[in-house]
């Protein structure tokens, strides 16, 4: 039996709706389903009654392919010349500061030393928040006066790391809307001046289709290297993981699974795609 477009219409549109209901961005879902259709049209199958299963398997494979990257965070940290300078960016309230604290804990458990740079010189309580994390983790925090230049704070942190043989600098930045031209210019400047080894985009699994828009804009502005998706412990289907990855084509290296330091897990794309099909 040769698969025709009409055989695929119904199962594909049901799967597309399923993706959208799982919080995958509408346009991304449409593109993925379109690619699956092109893959299957003209394909020869044994029994027509198997179409539903075949379509579902093709979609699963397509989704897994979206997450197929060669980047390994642990080997990167191990082999890269120290100090490694990592910059965290993202919109307001997604979990950047908390993620930095968790990543610091993770690195310290793997015997790397860290320096936290308070590059959020704007928001009320930002310095206090990251300082408290630094205290709990017993790791150095570099901070400046409120309203100071974020790039200068991060620059100082890297200098400190070099002078004191610290392995990784984690640079925090203020949350910002990708629609704010001045703030997007600022983040571009911060990147230019501090020249990070890795730029990590932090976004939250609770966000809907806007996750795509902001990932796209931040990628355009500062060229993201990897993504951390937070708050997957909330009651979410996590479709934004697909939308973001499809859009920027960069790996999700960690997911945030809660508010404590141990709530940071490696992103497991197989587990994730299987969850989606439950």
């Amino acid at each position: 039996v040769i698969l025709e477009e009409e055989d695929l219409e119904k199962p594909l549109s049901e799967l597309k709706l399923g993706l959208v209901e799982s919080d995958v961005d509408y346009d991304v879902a449409e593109k993925i389903i379109e690619e699956v259709k092109e893959e299957l049209v003209g394909k020869e199958i044994k029994w027509r009654k198997d179409v539903g299963e075949i379509v579902e398997k093709a979609l699963k494979d397509a989704l897994l392919k979206i997450f197929d990257f060669q980047f390994n965070f642990d080997s990167y940290i191990q082999s890269k010349e120290k100090p490694i300078n990592i910059l965290f960016v993202g919109t307001n309230g997604v979990g950047k500061t908390t993620t930095i604290a968790k990543v610091s804990k993770y690195l310290m458990e793997n015997n790397y030393s860290t320096v936290l740079a308070c590059g959020d010189t704007f928001r009320a309580g930002a310095t206090k928040q990251i300082s408290e994390h630094g205290e709990s983790l017993d790791t150095k925090v570099i901070k400046h006066e409120k309203g100071g230049d974020p790039a200068a704070v991060i620059y100082d942190a890297v200098e400190f790391a070099e002078a004191n043989n610290k392995d990784v600098v984690l640079g925090d930045t203020a949350g910002r809307m990708h629609t704010d031209i001045n703030l997007m210019d600022q983040i571009k400047k911060i990147k230019r001046v501090t020249n990070p080894d890795l730029v990590i985009f932090v976004d939250e699994a609770v966000a809907g289709s806007d996750a795509v828009e902001r990932a796209k804009e931040f990628h355009k502005a500062v060229n993201i290297d990897a993504v951390v998706l937070t708050k997957i412990d909330a009651d979410v289907s996590g479709g934004s993981a697909i939308s973001i990855t499809y859009e920027v084509q960069k790996p999700i290296i960690f997911v945030g699974t809660g508010q404590t330091y141990s709530d940071l897990k490696k992103f497991d794309s197989e587990w994730f795609v299987n969850q989606l099909f439950k």
């Binding site: 509408y26 206090k128 990708h178 289709s209 508010q259």
Partner: protein, 285 residues
Amino acid sequence: KLGNSLKKSIRKIAGSGRIDEEAVDELTRDIQRSLLKSDVDVKLVKNLTDQIKERALEKKPKGANPREHVVKIVYEELVKIVGEGGAPPIESQDILLLGLQGSGKTTTASKLANYFKNKGMKVGLICGDTYRPGAYEQLKTLSQKVAIPFYGEEEADDVVSVIKNGLETLNDQEIRIIDTAGRHSLEEELIKEMKEIEKTVSPENKYLVIDASIGKGVKEQAKSFEKAVGIDGVIITKIDGTAKGGGALTAVSETNTKIAFLGTGEKPEEFEEFDPEGFISRLLG
């Protein structure tokens, strides 16, 4: 009032001089896509567009321009769900701000306090978040920025006693706004804490603070907050980004309340009473 992508399909209806089924089908498909991209719940979108289609194909009022007739229907059906603005009355009350982690509660607390202050009320702010590092400092700084009396206990971990002390200390204020820690429906301990806070304060108004970019998960959250303590209104934050706030429709229908305010930025004055017109045209993209 309709966004550019819908204007084209509306024009097709107008062009035919009468409302034909095919043009209406195309319009409802476009509306569905816009609303889904704006994160409006799939079922809500289906019900809404069914309603729109049914009404659009009915006999239109004599002499009415077909295009205006359909635009009016789309608008009316959305207002039915979104509702009119639900700003609180300007009188003595205790307000509790609740919501997911990072949704904007602490920032909104200071904006709301500033709003009432500008209306001539005496307002106080209470820091009811004993978890988040720097929460006390954050609200204290924001309170100072808008010159509003503040109560908090920096090292405390019994949130109910902090709030009790706050209500006592600020009992000369007409309005007391209590900020709480972020929480979601699966965090049993935090949901339990929220119920205890609600019993302690017995606030006149409990607002669910929601990020405009929230996805389908808003349904579960709104349901569980409503079930746990009852919600009196919704505040949508970060509408100054590209998010359209479609999740707000689910939130108001799950809590059977209205949208009271919109947060349009990080500054205290970036706060407006909800007005359906601008919100709906944005939703339709």
